[in-house]
Amino acid sequence: MNRFALPLGLFALLAVVLAIGIKHSPDKGTIASPLIGKAAPEFSLPSLTDASRIVKSSDLRGRWYVFNVWGTWCGGCRLEHNVLLQMRHADVVPIIGLDWRDNDAEALSLLSQLGNPYELIAVDHDGREAIDWGVYGAPETFLVNDQGVVVYKYIGPLTQEAWEREFLPRLPAKQAEKS
């Protein structure tokens, strides 16, 4: 064999390793949240839909819920809106919204146009609550269990497939059966 072909052979080997490396590289969305397995942040925030009400984390204790961070300014949130509405329709688990760094009037008008998938919406004008949740950017969706512990975090616009693959299997069996 010609010794000048040796570099080519070595490169072919490297290409195979790189190809395997790409296949194994993690998906984009799996930036694990340090919150998973820990108690969800305590909060007590004004409600978007009812000015006289306060949305408190302690009131949610004892139920599983989905915590969805959104805003009218966020294009990705618009994409997942229909998925959220379907989830609401299926009525498997309540969706709590966090309206992040948003204008109340715009948020209300958007919900009246497109429909409101949320059971409760907490308002986070200055973004401090989102910091506690470790939010990188909207939309982000958390699943919190009846003990108030964060079970799962999804980054980016929610899809029907992600809902079925990631959220439903994590819910307690009798709740998930309803869907």
Binding site: N2, F4, A5, P7, L8, F11, A12, L14, A15, V17, L18, A19, I20, G21, I22, K23, H24, S25, P26, D27, K28, W73, C74, G75, R78, G127, A130, I131, V135, Y136, G137
Partner: protein, 652 residues
């Protein structure tokens, strides 16, 4: 409108790149002079189109057009204008466009600079560059279009990554890329020579100034990145053996080997096949660097873009480019025969050692960078390789290289006798050893075993580098730029070794918890923590600490380290405060708020660390001067190189 115009210009550029590649390679092959004549207009047109595209993107950034997804993700209306411009290359899509733009600039420079080359050869060079450009344009348009619109438009952007909001990092990518991409020119010359099958030393001479210039830019770019990491990341280190740093360092090492090997091929007609291989290797490592950083196969602190589909595209591109070049090499290199021989002690053998050691160094860095990936992809578990591996293995090849350098520059081509240089070499060695011991034991009075060795090697390189130019001046001989540049670059290496030895031996570092009014002593300096107060900038707020520094009780300075919280991305950056004193950098960085007015504070005294970066800039300046030597420009006028002995001495 502007983003669409930019997008359209990029598509036209892709078509022109295809023409440039086709006419440039097929024209000479089929002997069609009209096709060859079409290459230059294609280069010019492509440059105009890519320039238009870059201008459109920058204008959209400046005008805060958040309907463009890339701008919405990487800019913000509160971002200062300077960073709105540099945000263009703040993430994947834009930095690819920058890569392409710089390649286009190099291609235009080569077109202008090669007007005196044989037209067929020049067309082949431009054709190969066209293939590279085509691949990157296709990649950008297919997977990473920076002009994609966002519907509905975002009211404001997500802001530029706060760690990138820094002057050094704003100019780091263009300079680094200029170096990276510059190796494409050497690659194109090598491929053109192989395609033509005319593998005399002409191509090596024509390539030399381009390679040296690219190397100089790369040196600057790496130094800027390291400097940035030092003061911005807040850890006070200057080199982390991070995959992204390694990705730029490997082409540098191989590029250094290439510069020296090209010199041998140019002067003596030796190492021909080896030089070809190095030219391919240097550019392959540049491409691989792009691949490692951009595909997400290696996760690192710098990787802002990670996407497997892009990875597959880059891999296919790598296989076409590198695999193609290596196939060409396997086919053509056996035709090469070196006629000339050389003696063991001749300059050729020292440069051979130089090449071997540099390639070994690059291979150790490569192994350390790839090992985690290989172990992971073969399912052997996650492995992390860091400084404990890199530092000793790297030293193992670099120390002998440094020692050989001093002897090697005084040897002559072909003959292995040092003659009267021997006495002078010994004298400089003794002077260097005495000075080094004096420094190590006299001034610092402590240190490690390697401290005097490193210092002696550094001083020796500086001294011996100066011998030849001084000798030439004394004998009233001409001092060509190539020699001046080489001398400056070698002095830079000496300063680098000296600085690195000092930094590694005498750095003092303490992480302490300080309450308001608390004091601590590090080295010869005392630090009093006055406290913290709130600060606010254009797009961030945070806390600023005040630390009063004294030396043996005498007031020195007041340092104001900051911790910034950027509003949009909610990320925190550490801005260390640095004061230079007696050549030492005194660094104070704020750590965590420990509550009750207490803060953890990192204090570090690093002697001569600024010289590490300065040395890299000195090397780059040397490279720049050597690349501008008139000899390279004159050499092009003659089709066949003049093999006179007059040019025999000099740049190595």
């Amino acid at each position: 409108m502007l983003p669409e115009l930019g997008h359209f210009a990029l598509i036209l550029a892709l078509l022109l790149a295809a023409l440039q590649a086709f006419f440039g390679i097929a024209g000479p092959m089929l002997g069609r002079d009209r096709w060859i004549a079409a290459v230059t207009p294609a280069v010019a047109g492509q440059f105009v189109m890519i320039g238009t595209s870059v201008a459109c993107l920058i204008t959209s950034f400046v005008g805060n057009d958040f309907s463009v997804a890339y701008i919405a993700e990487n800019s913000n209306s509160a971002l200062p204008l300077f960073y709105r411009v540099s945000a263009m290359w703040g993430a994947h899509e834009g930095s690819l466009l920058l890569w392409i733009f710089i390649l286009s600039c190099w291609t235009v420079a080569v077109t202008i600079g090669s007007s005196r080359l044989p037209p067929r050869f020049a067309a082949r060079v431009l054709g190969v560059l066209g293939v590279v450009s085509f691949g990157f344009l296709l990649f950008t348009l297919a997977t990473s279009n920076p002009f994609n619109r966002l519907d509905p438009a975002a009211p404001d952007g997500r802001d530029l990554n706060p760690v990138l909001q820094d002057p050094a990092l704003a100019i780091h990518p263009p300079i680094l890329y200029t170096g990276y991409v510059g190796f494409a020119v050497a690659f194109a010359f090598a491929c053109a020579a192989m395609l033509e099958g005319r593998l005399d030393q002409n191509w090596a001479r024509w390539t030399r100034p381009w390679t040296t210039a690219a190397w100089a830019f790369l040196s600057c770019g790496i130094a800027l990145g390291s400097w940035w990491a030092y003061y911005e990341l807040g850890w006070g280190g200057y080199w982390f053996w991070d995959p992204v740093e390694n990705a730029s360092f490997m082409p540098w090492l191989v590029g250094t080997a290439l510069i020296h090997s090209l010199a041998v091929t140019d002067k003596r007609g030796l190492f021909k096949s080896w030089t070809l291989l190095l030219a391919i290797l240097a550019f392959s490592l540049s491409l691989l660097g792009t691949f490692l950083v951009r595909s997400g196969v290696l996760v690192s602190v710098h990787s802002f873009a990670a996407d497997p589909t892009r990875g597959i595209f880059i891999l296919v591109f790598l296989i076409v480019m590198i695999g193609g070049a290596l196939t060409l090499y396997a086919w053509r290199a056996p035709l090469l025969k070196s006629q000339a021989g050389f003696e063991l002690g001749a300059r050729e053998s020292f440069l051979l050692f130089n090449n071997i050691l540099l390639v070994i160094a690059a291979a150790t860095v490569f192994a350390g960078t790839m090992a985690p990936l290989i172990s992971d992809s073969l399912g052997l578990g996650t492995l992390s390789v860091g400084a404990p591996y890199f530092n000793p293995t790297f030293m193992l090849s670099m120390l002998p290289l440094m020692a050989l350098l001093s002897v090697g520059i005084h040897t002559s081509w072909k003959r292995g006798r040092l003659g009267d240089k021997k006495r002078m070499l010994l004298t400089t060695l003794v002077v260097a050893a005495v000075l080094a011991c004096g420094l190590a034991f006299g001034i610092y009075s402590k240190g490690r075993v390697l401290t005097p060795v490193g210092a002696a090697v550094g001083i020796w390189i500086i001294l011996t580098s100066l011998v030849d130019p001084i000798d030439r001046l004394r004998r009233k001989l001409s001092l060509p730029r190539a020699v001046v540049g080489m001398t400056i670059a070698h002095i830079g290496i000496g300063i680098f070794v000296l600085a690195l030895t000092t930094v590694e031996s005498f750095t003092v570092e303490h992480d302490v918890s300080l309450a308001k009014g608390g004091m601590t002593t590090v080295g010869a300096y005392e630090f009093r923590f006055v406290g913290v107060k709130a600060i606010e900038g254009p797009n961030y707020d945070g806390v600023g600490g005040t630390v009063v520094v004294t030396r043996h009780g005498a007031p020195l300075t007041v340092l104001y380290p900051q911790k910034r919280q950027y509003w949009v991305q909610h990320s925190v950056t550490t801005e260390a405060a640095i004061e230079m004193h007696y050549g030492s950098n005194v660094l104070v960085a704020l750590g965590e708020d420990l509550g009750a007015g207490k803060w953890s504070v990192r204090i570090q005294v690093r002697p001569l660390v600024n010289l590490v970066w300065l040395a890299a800039f000195i090397m780059a300046v040397g490279g720049g001067i050597a690349a501008s030597d008139r000899r390279y420009r004159l050499a092009r006028t003659a089709e066949a190189p003049v093999m006179s002995g007059a040019a025999g001495e000099g740049a190595g």
